[in-house]
């Protein structure tokens, strides 16, 4: 990209410049001896063309919407259309959550994102013993199709796209969504949305697993196949790094472990007989937007480039859409503080900006009360306005990949890519992501990074404003959201009613059919859809699958 002779001259000039600075260092020290990113990448004092002299614009950057997609997956990016403003929401009952959805849509969000409670995510009905104290607490309680119908009351499924953070029971919730849409008169081909459906990261960083890896992969690839035929505009998986990062990983580990998981899913689908270009266009990803601004931007760009190369060179995908890493981003919840919560508005703004400059397709911004409770209405409004201000007021959306070409950003993108590939190669040597997880490799890496991060805070190597520096006595916010404790009882009553009023014979039949199908190679989705239509509950359906597949036993690794 640059003239070799000029680079040589520049290098020696820079060296002289560095030497002058070093000579005065004792008198004018820098704030730290070494500056590093979260991933331990050394940050130089200055970046010049010399640092990226070996790059090829054509091969490494290219043009937006063209391989290797470093600069973006669409040619016009936000000049054409803003990212989807999609706030993760859900708590209590389907009615309460429906209200919050409508509020957010009224306030200008452009896509829905559902948070389910833990019993739902782990395949238990609200009346299960293990659901005690958990119903409706971290998301909405969904026990049957009826709850989904209430959740989407007055929301047109052919006009809104919905992302659902559901993993082990993804087939059930997707079935409910499809069944409910049919009732609304919307055919499956018109449905737009995403299910997270990413079991591997559950084992590593999130914990809402139910079944062991093999049957879990079967459920996932069944969904790929079913949607390719019937729900073609649906993102069948959101291969996630967000939670891996929240669990304490570095930026490099976040991308490395996520893409390794992605490779495992592609391999599983191919092994199940699917053609790569048949399902790959509908894979999507989910990343974290953390604090080190430029590392985050570089990270997103590196991820796109790596995935494009993996899909093309490793899997021979030919459809350009198979090579595109499309992603949703959420700002880093783990960086938000209980102390001086208004500071979090500022953190989130910068994190959101890094995601936009990194080319995200969809974005959730956390609320200032993140460390204290689920978002209050006032807090979530500020979070949404943050996105709107970025999108409409500050001009960053007027050109594609504005930071492209920055010597620092390109050097950092290269560094992240190299370090990520080192990890991916290591995981390959172990036998792939599933093997790496069984060996505890990802878990140990994450834990080590988490511990290092905490040590850095406690030694003040890492400053957290309001926590270990610049403390001040602030009042606790008074309007924190509290989940109505009556939700659990109401859900249980509702369940009893449904179970009394439905056609018991039909339910028994569909559950028996499901049990049989689960034990064969037949795609499980049609029988799950039949089951939810008969108002078999989520717990009943997952109960059958638990009996057939068994439950995953977590190996405690500490």
């Amino acid at each position: 990209m640059y003239d070799r002779e000029k680079i040589k001259l520049l290098r020696s000039r820079k060296e002289a410049w560095q030497n002058k600075i070093e000579a005065k260092m004792e008198r004018s020290p820098e704030r730290k001896k070494v500056f590093k990113t979260d991933s331990d990448i050394i940050v130089e004092r200055l970046y010049t063309p010399a640092e990226i002299a070996d790059n090829s614009y054509e091969e490494d950057l290219g043009l937006p919407g063209e391989y290797p997609f470093t600069r973006g997956v669409q040619p016009t990016m936000y000049r054409g259309r803003h990212w989807t403003m999609r706030q993760y929401a859900g708590f209590g009952s389907a009615e309460e959550t429906n209200k919050r959805f409508k509020y957010l849509l009224e306030q200008g969000q452009t896509g829905l994102s559902i948070a389910f409670d833990l019993p739902t995510q782990i395949g238990y009905d609200s009346d299960h013993t293990l659901a005690r104290g958990e119903v409706g607490k971290v998301g909405v309680a969904i026990d049957s199709l009826q709850d989904m119908e209430v959740l989407f009351d007055g929301i047109p499924l052919d006009k809104v796209s919905t992302s659902m953070t559901i993993n082990s029971p993804a087939a059930v919730i997707l079935a409910m969504y499809v069944a409910m849409a049919q009732k609304q008169g919307v055919s499956p081909e018109k449905l737009n949305g995403t299910i997270q459906n990413d079991i591997l990261k559950e084992y590593v960083a999130r914990g809402t697993y139910i079944f062991p890896p093999q049957p879990s992969m079967r459920l996932i690839t069944d969904i790929f196949a079913y949607c390719a035929q019937n729900v073609p505009n649906w993102n069948t998986i959101s291969i996630s790094g967000y939670h891996i990062r929240e669990a304490g990983s570095t930026a490099v580990q976040e991308i490395a472990f996520t893409l390794a998981d992605g490779i495992a899913y592609v391999e599983a689908a191919i092994k199940a007989g699917l053609d790569v270009d048949n399902f790959a266009p509908r894979l999507s990803f989910f990343f974290n937007a953390h604090l080190n601004f430029f590392e985050e931007v570089a990270k997103f760009r590196a991820a796109r480039r790596i995935w494009a190369r993996v899909m093309k060179e490793r899997f021979g995908a030919r459809d350009p859409r198979s090579l595109m890493l499309r992603f949703h981003t959420q700002t880093a919840g783990c960086t938000l503080t209980a102390q001086q919560p208004d500071n979090n508005v500022v953190r989130v703004a910068f994190q959101a900006l890094s995601a936009v400059l990194g080319g995200t397709q969809s974005l959730h911004t956390n609320s200032r009360d993140e460390a204290l409770a689920l978002p209050s209405e006032q807090s979530v409004l500020i979070a949404l306005r943050t996105q709107q201000i970025i999108g409409y007021e500050i001009g960053v959306t007027d050109t594609v990949d504005p930071l492209g070409g920055s010597y620092y950003i390109e050097a950092l993108t290269d560094c992240v890519e190299k370090d990520v590939m080192d990890y991916i190669n290591k995981i390959d040597e172990m036998g792939g992501a599933v093997a790496a997880i069984e060996k505890g490799f990802m878990q140990r890496e994450i834990q080590q990074s988490a511990y290092t991060y905490q040590r850095q805070i406690e030694t003040e190597e890492r400053i957290v404003v309001g926590v270990n520096k610049f403390l001040s006595d602030t009042e606790m916010p008074k309007d924190l959201l509290r989940v109505n404790p009556a939700v659990a009882d109401r859900q249980v009553e509702s369940l009893k009613r449904i179970q009394a009023e439905r056609d018991q014979r039909q339910v028994a039949d569909v559950l028996q059919r499901l049990r049989l199908v689960a034990q064969t190679d037949e795609n499980i989705m049609p029988s799950v859809i039949e089951a939810v239509k008969a108002y078999a509950t989520l717990g009943e359906i997952c109960g059958i699958l638990r009996e057939v597949y068994g439950e995953y036993q977590q190996q405690v690794m500490l």
């Binding site: 833990l118 019993p119 995510q121 782990i122 293990l130 659901a131 005690r132 104290g133 958990e134 607490k137 971290v138 559950e202 999130r206 914990g207 809402t208 929240e246 669990a247 304490g248 783990c334 503080t337 209980a338 102390q339 460390a371 204290l372 409770a373 834990q447 988490a450 511990y451 905490q454 805070i457 406690e458 926590v467 606790m476 924190l480 509290r482 989940v483 977590q554 405690v556 500490l558």
Partner: protein, 131 residues
Amino acid sequence: MKKDKRIRVLIAKAGLDGHDRGAKVIAQALRDAGMEVIYTGLRQTPEQIVEAAIQEDVQVVGLSSLSGAHMHLFPPVAQLLREQGASDIMVIGGGVIPAEDIPYLKETGISEVFTPGTSTEDIVRYIRERA
């Protein structure tokens, strides 16, 4: 020569919550501080936690919950320990726990609740001063 007895601590994830970063960081910090730590892993019921605590002969039980189920899950641990004659085991908790819930938890026998922003040093010191 008197044998130096190390403080034994059980760190437990109560309920369905899968956020274990804090629990693991604290477990490791307590180990670095010379304590013997048993980490239970996820999805522990109060009964399972108490059984493990007594079996492992710990002096301290640390409970972690970020899913809002602490009011239902923490008090039974303290109660069951009392019922089984193990009220000398100190119970502490942490996670996402609203300040207004803490007095109730303390009434039911939770010695202290450590909320976001707490340093591991503070927890080490708290345990050393009381175990």
